[in-house]
């Protein structure tokens, strides 16, 4: 039964949906091995759905150990016969080509990413896809300059890289992994996350369009088993993983005693420190962007707000007011700020930890918003009165949930910020340069954003301290992971 919507009162933005018609999703997908989409050996498959509607988008192949083996063999052949012997300037041209095709097909990629992942179209359109293209463009330029990278006079590629990427930035994480690997002369076998395989499969088509030699990029879809088969395959020389600290640990254990080079980009529980002299309006934007960008599905999310007691009340008031303007809903709507939680499983985890926060006595507040009836949704939420002892201040929630803590002195702020096994990122908000640099130098985190948050650039190295993993992605430093 439908009813007429009530007439618009005030400035209520009308729906502004991006058209789905730019994307042609096939009903089923094979694995991308040796330049072709092929059926999996075991013939098994799984469904990928839109988390915003639970609609089934496509049937995707589940790669078995044999499929992984075939892909590794193809990558090895391509490495030995084509890709590593190829002069860097020629490899560069393939990567530039890919960068251009990513730009040309940006709208299609953005819509597909939003459908499969649930993130707002404005983020896939303005962040994920342009950054992915920029990543390829950046590393393309390195391919014929490696001997000038300060990593030895004659750096050589490692061989075949096994790469496992997460569901939060599917195409962008692919770019972070594939671009530097290829630029350095390696070939890759990549496993996208099981809930977000579609942009990687479209990327396979882009590799074909670019006439990339077969076997240079292989994409094997699947879940945890497929990933395990890949990282433990004896034929790979390098493991690059982005995902949870738990899986990172098991990979580190699995490669022990081998000669595989490893980079791990894992979880975080970043502190976002607001000093009393901060530019408050921009700080509030940074807090919001830090935790609600991409539904908080960000390893470097500013999930712990540390605010100086003298401005805590004012900051919270501004933050809540700002949160009421966040638009939660249809990810394809161009005005949506917060989209769908990526999976039922992730939603359950967010709910569980939020309930724990409440049980532990923290004050829970969610922005008033109407959540869609279907799909996986969680409102932007903050917990106040949180202390370091609370689980919601220690464990990664990976959702739109912010824990608010206070501090009295800069030393206390830094001490609390560092009081975690993680060390991926941190934020500092102050108008006093010397204080900012003081804090930045003491924070044990791989990325420190001062008066900004969640900024990424291919020239900027990214990666963690402590249990947030090791190795850096991005910039000259990112080459080190793919050269010997």
């Amino acid at each position: 039964m439908t009813s007429t919507p009530p007439p618009r009162q005030g400035f209520d933005y009308a729906p502004a949906p991006e058209s789905r018609s730019v994307v042609d999703i096939r009903s089923s997908y094979g694995l991308f091995v040796d330049g072709e989409l092929v059926d999996p050996v075991g013939g098994r498959s799984f469904k990928t759905i839109s988390p915003a509607t639970e609609e089934v988008l496509a049937e995707v192949s589940e790669g078995s150990a044999e499929d992984v083996d075939l892909a590794v063999q193809a990558a090895r052949r391509a490495f030995e016969t084509v890709w590593s012997p190829m002069p860097g300037r020629e490899r560069a041209k393939y990567l530039f080509r890919i960068a251009r095709i990513l730009q040309e097909r940006s709208r299609e990629l953005a819509v597909l990413e939003t459908l499969d992942n649930g993130k707002p179209i404005k983020e896939s359109r303005d962040v994920d896809v342009p950054l992915a293209a920029q990543w390829f463009f950046y590393y393309a330029g390195w391919a014929d300059k490696l001997e000038h990278a300060g990593l030895g006079p004659a750096p050589r590629p490692l061989g075949v890289a096994g790469q496992v990427i997460p569901w939060n930035f599917p195409l962008l994480m692919l770019a972070w992994k594939v671009a530097p690997a290829l630029a350095c002369g390696n070939t890759v076998v990549l496993k996208p996350a099981e809930t977000t395989p579609l942009t990687a499969l479209l990327f396979a088509e882009i590799c074909q369009q670019a006439d990339l030699p077969p076997g240079v990029v292989n994409i094997v879809t699947g879940a945890g088993e497929t990933g395990r088969a890949l990282v433990s395959h004896p034929g790979i020389d390098k493991v690059a993983f982005t995902g949870s600290t738990e899986v990172g640990r098991s990979i580190a254990r699995a490669v022990a005693g081998t000669t595989k080079k490893v980079t791990l980009e894992l979880g975080g529980k970043a502190a976002n420190i607001v000093f009393d002299d901060a530019p408050l309006d921009e700080a509030v934007e940074g807090i919001v962007h830090g935790i609600f960008f991409n539904q908080g599905h960000v390893c470097c999310a500013g999930s712990r707000l540390l605010v100086q007691e003298s401005v805590a009340e004012e900051v919270l008031e501004r933050l809540k007011r700002r949160m009421t303007t966040l638009r939660v809903g249809d990810p394809l709507d161009k005005n949506t700020d917060v989209g769908a939680i990526n999976s039922a499983e992730q939603l359950a985890r967010i709910r569980e930890l939020s309930d724990v926060g409440e049980q532990e006595g923290a004050g829970r507040w969610s922005a008033p918003c109407e959540l869609p009836a279907h799909g996986f949704w969680f409102p932007p939420t903050i917990f106040t009165g949180v202390s370091q002892a609370h689980r919601i201040a220690r464990e990664e929630i990976f959702g739109p949930v912010l824990s608010v803590l206070t501090f009295r002195t800069p030393a206390e702020a830094v001490e609390k910020a560092n009081n975690t096994p993680f060390g991926l990122s941190a934020g500092v908000w102050s108008d006093k340069g010397s204080r900012t640099l003081w804090a930045a130098s003491r924070l044990r985190a791989g990325v420190v954003w001062a008066n900004t948050f969640n900024k990424f650039d291919p020239a900027s190295p990214f990666g963690g301290y402590k249990e947030s993993g090791y190795g850096r992605e991005g910039g000259r430093h990112g080459l080190e992971a793919y050269l010997r």
Binding site: A450, N451, A459, S460
Partner: protein, 292 residues
């Protein structure tokens, strides 16, 4: 004054933890023989608890050592080289007996050790310029990356090269501000203890270097699994793949940075390069807007 009848005062070879020279809390020691199989010394057999105490001392020293100016760390390391040079005769003898070298070869090893310290000392205030820098991001921000010491590093010192190998694994770790717990060559600990005495008299703050002697089977697993150790250098496990694998697996629990051992111990007279320094550095990237 001296005469052939004088009874020699023998040294007790102890651990070096937190700037002091304790015995093992276990009270154990073990016999160290020289390369010819003759008795050389009773060395301290460090226990798991000694390893734990050493990690505590290293952690305590980290904040101070890592925030010294690089210039100051360079001077301290250079001071170590100076004091080491003063102990040359003693070390030539100890290295010679421990490794079974003739005095010319032992002297060469000691001289190279001094020179290596001087080489690494000079890196203290240069490495950031070589491995760090500004990053040209496509937005109105200043963005720079700097190396920072990874924290507490546990080191299995080379088993063959008792002084040059040890200096070659220690210096690159401490020069950047890391603090160290090092398990000395179990069979050849005597030059290591002498080096500890050199460190103790060379302006190296207590706890920056902590030295354990004894079989690694007792200490290494403790260090590898210790949650407050940030990195593990397995150089001393060269040739023992099973041990190296076991320790790397233990290190995975807290995602330590692991420097794997080569198949066989390397020739320490080779140019060391930067790899041992960068293995224990973190890259920190800082963003700041540029505006009015």
């Amino acid at each position: 004054m001296t005469s052939g009848n004088r009874i020699q005062v023998r040294k007790t070879y102890k651990l070096y933890v937190g700037g002091a020279f304790p015995r093992s809390e276990s009270g154990r020691s073990y016999v160290v023989e020289d390369a010819a199989g003759s008795f050389l010394a009773n060395a301290t057999h460090a226990s798991r608890k000694d390893a734990r105490d050493a990690v505590l001392a290293a952690r305590k020293a980290f904040a101070g050592w890592s925030t010294r100016t690089p210039y100051n760390r360079g001077q301290v390391l250079y001071r170590v080289a100076e004091v080491l040079e003063g102990r040359r005769a003693q070390l030539v003898e100890e290295v010679g007996r421990s490794e079974g070298l003739d005095s010319a070869s032992a002297a060469e090893a000691v001289d190279l050790s001094v020179d290596r310290l001087v080489w690494y000392a000079g890196w203290a205030d240069k490495v950031a310029q070589v491995v760090g820098g500004t990053n040209p991001v496509a937005a109105p921000y200043v963005n720079f990356s700097l190396p920072e010491p990874t924290g507490v590093v546990a080191v299995l010192a080379p088993s063959r090269s008792s002084l040059l190998g040890l200096v070659s694994v220690l210096a690159p770790v401490v020069v950047t501000g890391c603090t160290v717990v090092v398990a000395a060559s179990p069979a050849r600990p005597v030059p290591a203890v002498t080096l500890a005495e050199v460190l103790a008299t060379s302006d190296v703050p207590g706890g920056v270097v902590n030295l354990l002697t004894g079989p690694v089977a007792d200490t290494a697993p403790t260090l590898a699994s210790h949650l407050d150790v940030n990195a593990l250098d397995l150089t001393g496990a060269a040739g023992d793949q099973a041990l190296a694998t076991e320790l790397e697996q233990a290190a995975a629990g807290s995602l330590k940075r692991v420097l794997r051992p080569p198949a066989t111990e390397q020739d320490w007279s080779d140019d060391p390069g930067l790899d041992r320094i960068t293995a224990f550095l973190e890259t920190k990237t800082v963003w700041h807007p540029v505006g009015l």
